[in-house]
């Protein structure tokens, strides 16, 4: 079982959902990003996603776009992403990288995977490819025992969900709204049915990303999912109060409380 899967298993044994926290590397700068991610770890995230800032983030809304753009303008490189992963993974919290595909392909899939593994990274979340995109990634990930996290969506057919979960390792990422990343006031009525359809095909944990920003929303999602993914709300906090890691810690603690109230 991968380290990520074990983190979900531990949460399940505690009778709760896992909290998965996302921030892009290099935002506001590389060291500041590492500090912020360590706050997420210390305040209750069970799994960390480190975003690799990319010039053309088609699945991200304005909040994460703004952070990624600032990171790129600050000169963040792929090697900085690995340095971030190394620092966060050293805490013992499973750390995966969320990346658009071209940077991986350009770096070299095997080289990227090897350097990720060397940094202690657990695997990749790949939002703009599917298992049938004919990349080398599934084979390379298997060789290095890395997590392969692909996405399912409300528009996915049952057959595609089965194909996708069969290709996943670690967990399955359910994008439970039709739309880009960003916080939303209400949770989606599409989420629970998607999780149900997904769980019918796999024993892997299913984590849900749909713009959760409060403990109450996290509690609602935790009632039917194995994990609650939060990204934009963390980024928003850092954009609104640069350098104020107390606000970040407080939000994380509220969300961590939420995933414990959900069952």
């Amino acid at each position: 079982m991968s380290g990520t899967a074990m983190a979900f298993e531990k949460a399940r044994a505690d009778g709760r959902a896992a909290l998965v926290g996302y921030l892009p590397a290099g935002f506001p700068d590389v060291d500041g990003g590492i500090d912020a991610l360590k706050v997420l770890v210390d305040s209750g995230c069970d799994v960390i996603e480190v975003g690799l800032p990319y010039s053309d983030p088609v699945m991200d809304g304005p909040t994460i776009q703004a952070a990624a753009q600032r990171a790129l303008e600050g000169g963040v490189r792929i090697r900085d992403v690995f340095r971030t992963v190394e620092a966060v993974a050293a805490t013992g919290t499973p750390t995966v990288v969320m990346t658009y595909w071209n940077p991986v392909e350009r770096y070299g899939v095997t080289r990227f995977a090897t350097d990720l593994a060397s940094a202690g990274g657990a695997g990749l979340i790949t939002p703009d490819i599917t298992p049938d995109s004919r990349t080398e990634w599934p084979v390379v990930a298997d060789q290095l025992d890395l997590d392969k996290v692909f996405l399912v969506a409300p528009s996915s057919t049952d057959a595609r969900i089965a194909m996708t979960t069969a290709a996943c390792r670690g967990f399955v990422y359910a994008t439970a709204v039709m739309g880009v990343t960003g916080t939303r006031a209400t949770t989606s009525e599409l989420a629970a049915p998607l999780v149900e359809r997904t769980k019918a095909t796999t024993d892997l944990p299913v984590a849900v990303g749909l713009g959760v920003s409060t403990g109450d929303q996290a509690a609602e999602v935790a009632s039917y999912a194995d994990g609650v993914i939060v990204g934009s709300a963390f980024v928003r906090t850092l954009l609104d109060a640069p350098g104020d890691l107390h606000a970040l810690a407080a939000l994380t603690a509220d969300l961590a409380d939420g995933v414990r109230r959900g069952r």
Binding site: S55, M59, M178, G179
Partner: protein, 404 residues
């Protein structure tokens, strides 16, 4: 669909050799699959094909003329030069073929709204036109840099009833407009069709856009045989994303004796780094849903392209062109801003035709080839659009209008 089924065509997953495919969020896969089935069924349906032909003929001015440019030929002093006059189409470019095809398909699929991206505004205007014609709601995404420098086209789109949304993210140009259109589509895919503006993007767009534009080459090949009794020695088109080029090239791919030439935007010169010559100056990568040639840095971040021609100012290229380049069936060469503008002026003075700056790249390349071939040769150029939209550029470049 292409009836050629030749090695130049894609497989059933949209792969042209090593290029193309579908690198897209899972959320859009169902829509792309639905579109693929609808397109294949439509192209196999004689009623759809006949309706498309009728609309092109009665509304868009197609087939366009093949014009024997004797004055230009005489001036150049080389091969006979023929011009495929796509600049005479309704809305002033080849792009009307693609949008009418995609909008007709949208109606057939029962969707009520279309979205489009645009750089200079030509595809946006064409999309707004098709939306007006078919009674569809239309939103066009356009980089905020471009909405400022192409205010006239913004006005045209608005007059046609479209909503124009300026995009401020990234470099605020065409690639970012595509990103924003994709973000809209992922949230609206149930009732919205994405009218993609070029023969790039994820499967089925490269093949589908080619099917809707290939009339350019089908007509030109027949017109050339009728006019001259032979096939051309070379054909030429400009290449940004590559829809006019693939539209011309497709009919000639199996004519092994016909040289196929694509001219990319060389900007200030490929050696300066300020260009949009994706094949000459880029590397294999994934951008906007397909593997193709991409202008990118060593971390795979997209590099902004530069060209005097907004329609060629794109850091990617259609995957079938990448395949034709790698296989050697077609050659792709850069033409600098200066050489394109010289060709634009040459055509205006010799033939009384003001073409688009995009098309002037093809013309500049064709003049080179005509000289190489000599008087016994025959060159066919796709004049993909007209130059009305480029008068601001021409005023600045040539210092026209009494200086400003």
């Amino acid at each position: 669909m292409s009836e050629l089924g030749s090695t130049w065509d894609a497989d059933d997953q949209g792969w042209f050799g090593d290029f193309g495919g579908r690198f897209m969020p899972e959320a859009l896969v169902a829509a792309l699959d639905e579109l693929t089935v609808a397109w294949q069924e439509a192209m196999a349906d004689p009623v759809f094909v006949a309706e498309f032909d009728t609309i092109l003929r009665e509304y868009a001015g197609v087939p366009s003329l093949l014009y024997d440019a004797t004055r230009l030929t005489e001036h150049v002093g080389g091969a006979r030069i023929l011009l495929k006059r796509e600049d005479l189409n309704h809305t002033g470019a080849h792009k009307i073929r693609n949008v009418l095809g995609q909008a007709l398909l949208t109606k057939r699929m029962g969707k009520t709204r279309v979205i489009a991206e645009t750089g200079a505004g030509q595809h946006g205007v064409a999309s707004a036109t098709a939306a007006a014609y078919f009674g569809l709601d239309c939103t066009v995404y356009m980089g905020s840099v471009d909405t400022k420098r192409q205010a006239l086209n913004v006005a045209r789109m608005e007059l046609l009833g479209a909503k124009v949304v300026p995009v401020d993210s990234g470099s605020a140009t065409l690639k970012d407009a595509i990103n924003e259109a994709l973000r809209d589509w992922v949230a609206s895919v149930g009732h919205t069709a994405y009218l993609f503006g070029t023969a790039a993007g994820p499967h089925p767009f490269p093949s589908m856009v080619r099917d809707f534009t290939r009339g350019i080459g089908d007509e030109a090949r027949a017109q050339c045989l009728e006019l001259t009794g032979r096939l051309p020695d070379a054909i030429a088109a400009c290449v940004g994303g590559g829809s006019n080029a693939i539209g011309l090239f497709t009919a000639f791919l199996d004519d092994a004796d016909v040289r196929i030439l694509g001219y990319e935007a060389g900007g200030d010169g490929v050696e300066t780094g300020r260009h949009a010559a994706t094949i000459a100056g880029g590397d294999s990568g994934v951008l906007h849903g397909a593997r193709t040639f991409v202008l990118q840095d060593e971390d795979g971040q997209t590099i902004e392209s530069h060209s005097i021609s907004a329609g060629l100012d794109y850091p990617g290229v259609g995957p079938q062109h990448a395949h034709l380049a790698k296989s050697g069936r077609a050659e792709y060469l850069p033409i600098t801003d200066r050489r394109a503008m010289d060709a634009l002026a040459l055509l205006a003075r010799t033939e009384g035709i003001i073409c688009a700056v995009e098309s002037a790249h093809a013309l500049a390349g064709a003049v080179d080839v005509a000289r190489d071939l000599g008087p016994s040769g025959l060159v066919l150029v796709n004049l993909s659009g007209r130059g009305d939209k480029d008068m601001e550029t021409a005023i600045d470049w040539f210092g026209l209008g009494g200086g400003r």
